[in-house]
């Protein structure tokens, strides 16, 4: 049930994104005060709670985006061997992007 499990993760990440992107918008655009000041940015960068928040947001965002892209590409009538190549390629892209997405907040957390 590989496809079903991937789809369940897609649903979970979609629901997660709703809350995490919502929280991001709330803090960055709707809260009182200026979230872009040096103090605010540094405050979030050095907070372990915000570090976890950014990492989870990255996982949800990257998975949801790449799975959506996979669904679109699958509609080009890809035969099964090509689907395997596609899966491994997307996994490689996902891990690379996730590595970079991890590096930035962790580096800021350590340096800050």
């Amino acid at each position: 049930m590989k496809e079903t499990q991937l789809k369940i993760l897609q649903y979970i990440s979609g629901i997660g994104l709703f809350f995490f992107v919502g929280a991001h918008l709330l803090v960055s655009h709707l809260s009182s005060g200026d979230p872009t000041t040096w103090e605010s940015v540094l405050g979030r960068a050095t907070s372990s709670g915000w570090l976890a928040f950014y990492i989870i947001l990255s996982i949800f965002g990257i998975y949801h985006g790449l799975h959506g892209l996979r669904t679109i590409i699958l509609e080009f009538s890809l035969p099964n061997p090509a689907v395997k190549v596609l899966d491994w390629s997307l996994l490689a892209v996902g891990l690379t992007v996730f590595g970079y997405a991890l590096y930035i907040p962790i580096n800021a957390f350590i340096v800050g």
């Binding site: 049930m1 499990q5 789809k7 369940i8 669904t71 509609e75 009538s77 035969p79």
Partner: protein, 268 residues
């Protein structure tokens, strides 16, 4: 209405490079269907016109065609319902053309076969040599009976936008039938069908456009069946699907006497 203008797709593989439209004038008759018009053309104007039909009463599903850009059964479509004197008839989209209006439904039947469209009984002996009926409650019958009305006409496959973009997509008819058999309490083959529907070109490529349900001439709702199949597969994947006891076999009827005594022959 006076005369009707029938614009009919013609195509003879090997001779024609691509399908083209030929126009015929057909006299209107009260209550005539699109199939009646095509039969008139074949009998009176051009006997080389090829189309498929059989029962002429919406049961066999043979005369599926694209009529005024909507997949319909020609025998089930009164010309008056089209509300125009111009009738354009093409072969079903998403299928190769054999000739003129005859579409090749082979992919439909291949996909249909792949989902094992039959009751897989746990009792092999009973399946081979049945002795009695399987017991089912009215509610159990109700859960799948509308999906059992499918006549395999292929209209849902022709209407489906996902089949149009991905020829490997199983499509609404096979997936609807997969659900029909999975929900039948006489059947224990759900796992095998889930495996087939779980392929990259399986149930999860359905975007719920709903065109299949709109096109179905028998009132089947394949879009609903696909959503229910998705739910069943998610529950099965999370091990939350309720385990059902397969329908039991009814007791063989006891020997019974006729209700009314048969009178003796008076003439010997």
């Amino acid at each position: 209405m006076q005369d009707l203008s029938f614009k009919v797709q013609r195509y003879l593989p090997g001779k024609d490079k691509k399908p083209y439209i030929q126009e015929f004038t057909v006299p209107f008759r009260q209550g005539m269907t699109v199939l009646d018009g095509l039969i008139y053309i074949k009998e009176n104007i051009d006997n080389t016109l090829s189309f498929r039909s059989s029962c002429r009463m919406g049961i066999c599903g043979a005369c599926g065609m694209l009529i005024n850009n909507f997949p319909m059964l020609a025998c089930h479509t009164p010309v008056e319902e089209l509300e125009t004197a111009r009738v354009e008839v093409r072969s079903l989209p998403n299928f190769a053309i054999i000739r003129d209006l005859v579409a090749s439904l082979d992919p439909l039947f291949e996909k249909h076969k792949s989902i094992k469209p039959y009751v897989i009984s746990p009792d092999l002996k009973e399946a081979e040599e049945p002795i009695a009926e399987f017991l089912q409650s009215p509610d159990e019958l109700e859960s799948y009976v509308q999906f059992a009305y499918c006549v395999k006409c292929g209209l849902c496959m022709a209407a489906c936008p996902t089949v149009a973009t991905d020829a490997l997509f199983l499509g609404p008819q096979p997936l609807g039938q997969a659900y029909r058999y999975c929900t039948d309490r006489r059947d224990t083959g759900a796992k095998e069908r889930f495996r087939e529907a779980d392929s990259p070109h399986g149930v999860w490529l359905c975007h719920l456009a709903g065109a299949c349900s709109e096109a179905c001439p028998k009132g089947v709702d394949p879009a609903l069946a696909i959503q229910l199949l998705k739910r069943a597969m998610v529950f099965d994947s999370l091990r939350l699907r309720k385990k059902r006891t397969p329908a039991s076999v009814a007791q063989p009827p006891a020997e019974s006497k006729p209700k009314i005594d048969v009178p003796e022959f008076t003439v010997k």
